[in-house]
């Protein structure tokens, strides 16, 4: 159960530096996966109301098999993983490591453990 406590830190924009924390009351359980949703609409777990480049339901992160996965929900402006040369657009679901920067619309964020 402890594994489900997670923080998402926003890394750009007006909320740069804001740490959002989630326990198992948040998100949704789908079979063996625990899922948090990211998007511009109010009913997302991570609500990016100030990012006009994010879609209403933009992306999801899943906790499954002891690791994190990032899924792009066919968003208009894309979900990206930071790369040393060019940021890589996410298609489908890809593995995500702790601390790895990713971008939803214009908003950069990362997963980080919560004490």
């Amino acid at each position: 159960m402890e594994d489900k406590y997670v923080g998402i830190m926003l890394m750009s924009g007006v909320d740069d530096g804001l740490l959002l924390t989630f326990d198992d009351d948040a998100g949704s359980q789908n079979g063996d996966a625990w899922t948090l949703s990211i998007g511009r609409k109010e009913d997302n777990d991570v609500c990016l109301r100030n990012d006009t480049y994010s879609s209403r339901y933009h992306a999801k992160i899943h906790w499954r098999g002891e690791s994190w996965w990032l899924e792009d929900c066919e968003s208009k402006n894309g979900t990206f993983i930071e790369d040393s040369v060019d940021d890589q657009r996410v298609t489908g679901t890809i593995p995500l490591s702790d601390g790895q920067l990713f971008r939803v619309g214009r908003t950069w964020m990362r997963i980080q453990p919560v004490d």
């Binding site: 750009s12 007006v14 740069d16 100030n50 006009t52 920067l101």
Partner: protein, 639 residues
């Protein structure tokens, strides 16, 4: 001396936030506020690590992107990270019992926090953050930038008619910090860019001379990009003994210039000379041999000989060589009341070709390539596809107000409204008109010597070529190969310098570029400048195209190096004896060359005719040996 306090930095930071339509105060705005301080600590320390403030500002802007005009909240709130940074800075000021946070406190706080956008950008630009922190701690805020006096001497080969500017001398002194003296041996003839290339010998305090190096000085954006490009694309593809980029670039706060040093791994020989100089010494026959036996095989192993099949549409590799598709007068980014034509991907050239002076257009989704802050213009291009395609369909925008509107390199401009000021056709016509043609240069065809007695006017005929598909090949190329970038070192070894354009691209582009350089610098230089001379040289080229060699006599021995180029090209053709692939490259490269005002008038006249000749060959599929000697009959045309 008063130091800059938080209040002034915040004014700069808020201005940046508004320019970018962000309307919040982030750490990135604070950092840009620090960089905006004239002679400030942050800018000085970054310059010591080979960057300019503007280069860093553009990189930060690329990472954040511009916001929407529509504001979603009132006021300009601090971000949570800004609050953290300001509280660290406040602690630093308190510890030092200062009443107000100063620029050093703020810089140290930003580096301490370490997760903000500017620090992420600095890491990406390979700034040594640890060193930056140490320097920020110890440097006195009122220190003038490190600048020792270095005596500058000139070698006997230095062309005294060419004066170096104060800004250039300042930069040179900084580049050779630690030496007592430098001797500028000679200026290597540059290409067709503004770059200044010098051979410099540094002399130590003990009067011992170090090996000469080649110094390239150009605008900071170009030089800093070249240094990054060298790391990513060039370093690992060079032959073992050659010129290499040394260290980081050097920048200057007194001008928009930066410098690079190329050192020779081969030894201490001071006699590296460019091929233009060497050609005069060794003679034209030996020059051709040298190109084939030294240059091509030596760099070819990792460059031109590593070819892969590559089918491309001509515009993707070659449109960027042409003048801007349109030059626009900036109107703004607001909606226009009248319906206007939109320029967006995929670009429909036939619709753009119908536009005239004064027409209003929108440009959508183009990417900013260059920004000229002194002259308030910028250049856009489509920014997608291969490296050459990214620069295709240039659109020049004049009349910007860059203190109010931020435009930065790499920005995607969602929508921009402008009024047509000049079309590409007008730019090309203007270029030909400046060559004082002795014929009607607005006609569909132009007169030449021999039969057929006319060739298509390239200005009206090139456009169809852009849509053609070419079955060619693809490899690493230098991207700007000309006699001034090729150096001859010890034991006549080949050295290339100036990797600002090095990329993966159409293999034959390098050889078409070099042929044009030979035609201008060797052939036309020997022959003269008149239209009549240009036509006579064209006849020799036509003979060479025909593969018959007729017409090449002792009097035209200067054509020998050009035929050596053709031998190299023969090896590089994707389909044996299908010369169309080369003529495309030659046609487009000569289209560019006749617009260059740094090329001799005679050279440009020949380039215009060469474009006509190669386009004619492509239109009539006159490719391959023996099939194209139509210009070789020696009946001069009287005008």
């Amino acid at each position: 001396m008063a130091t800059i306090g938080l209040r002034d930095i915040l004014i700069n930071a808020r201005q940046e936030s508004f320019r970018m339509n962000h309307y919040y105060l982030g750490v990135e705005h604070l950092f840009i506020g620090l960089l905006d301080i004239q002679g400030g600590l942050t800018g000085t320390l970054l310059e010591e690590q080979g960057l300019t403030p503007q280069y860093v500002v553009d990189a930060i802007r690329r990472l954040t992107g511009k916001g929407n005009r529509q504001r979603l909240w009132a006021g300009v709130p601090d971000t949570p990270r800004t609050k953290v940074v300001l509280s660290i800075a406040n602690d630093l000021a308190l510890e030092a019992s200062r009443p107000e946070i100063d620029e050093r406190d703020l810089l140290l706080a930003i580096l301490e926090e370490s997760d903000s956008i500017p620090v992420r950008v600095l890491r990406k630009l390979e700034v040594n953050i640890k060193r930056l922190k140490e320097e920020a701690h110890t440097r006195a805020l009122t220190d003038a930038p490190v600048q020792s006096y270095i005596k500058i001497d000139f070698g006997t080969d230095f062309d005294g008619t060419f004066a170096l500017t104060e800004q250039t001398l300042f930069l040179l002194r900084r580049m050779f910090h630690g030496y007592n003296q430098i001797r500028i041996e000679r200026r290597l003839m540059g290409g067709y860019t503004a770059a200044l290339i010098l051979v410099v010998t540094p002399v130590g305090a003990d009067r011992m001379e170090d090996a000469a190096v080649v110094v390239k000085i150009d605008t900071a954006d170009i030089v800093l990009d070249e240094a990054q490009r060298y790391e990513q694309h060039v370093k690992n593809s060079l032959p073992p003994l050659t010129a290499r980029l040394e260290d980081k670039p050097t920048t200057s706060e007194t001008s928009d210039l930066a410098g690079l040093k190329y050192t020779f791994v081969a030894g201490t020989d001071n006699n590296a000379q460019d091929l233009r100089t060497v050609a005069q010494k060794i003679g034209v026959d030996n020059l051709g041999e040298w190109l084939r036996r030294e240059l091509y095989p030596y760099f070819g192993k990792t460059w031109w000989q590593q070819r892969r099949e590559f089918s491309f549409q001509v515009w993707t590799e070659y449109d960027w060589l042409l003048p801007p598709l349109l030059t626009l007068e900036y109107i703004g980014d607001e909606e226009s009341s009248a319906p206007v034509s939109a320029i967006k991907e995929p670009v429909k050239r036939n619709r753009i070709n119908d536009l005239h002076y004064g027409d209003v257009v929108t440009v959508e989704g183009f990417i900013v390539q260059r920004v000229n802050r002194e002259k308030n213009w910028m250049q856009l291009a489509i920014g997608k596809g291969s490296e050459a395609a990214k620069r295709a369909y240039k659109i020049q925008v004049r009349g910007l107000n860059l203190s109010r509107d931020a435009f930065y390199r790499g920005e995607t401009v969602d929508k921009l409204l402008g009024r047509v000021w000049q079309t590409r056709e007008e730019a090309l016509l203007r270029a030909v008109s400046s060559l004082e043609p002795d014929f009607d240069y607005r006609a569909a065809s132009i007169p030449v010597l021999g039969r057929p007695d006319t060739l298509p006017n390239p200005i009206y005929a090139y456009d169809d070529l852009l849509d053609r598909y070419v079955n060619g090949s693809f490899s690493k190329i230098h991207g700007d190969l000309h006699l001034g970038n090729i150096l001859v070192g010890p034991n006549s070894s080949a050295f290339l310098i100036d990797f600002a354009q090095t990329r993966d691209g159409h293999t034959l582009f390098d050889w078409a570029s070099l042929e044009i350089s030979l035609l201008n610098d060797i052939v036309m230089k020997a022959a003269g400048d008149s239209w009549q001379t240009a036509r006579e040289v064209l006849r020799l080229i036509a003979a060479l195209n025909a593969g018959t060699g007729t017409g090449i006599t002792a009097a035209s021995a200067s054509m020998h190096p050009v035929s050596a180029i053709r031998e190299i090209v023969r090896e590089c053709l994707a389909v044996p004896d299908q010369w169309d692939e080369y003529y495309i490259a030659l046609a487009m490269a000569s289209m560019r060359a006749f617009t260059w005002d740094t090329m001799s008038v005679g050279g440009r006249r020949l380039m215009y005719l060469l474009a006509a000749l190669t386009i004619h060959a492509l239109q009539h599929k006159l490719s391959g040996a023996g099939s194209f000697d139509t210009l070789s009959t020696d009946q001069p045309q009287e005008e």
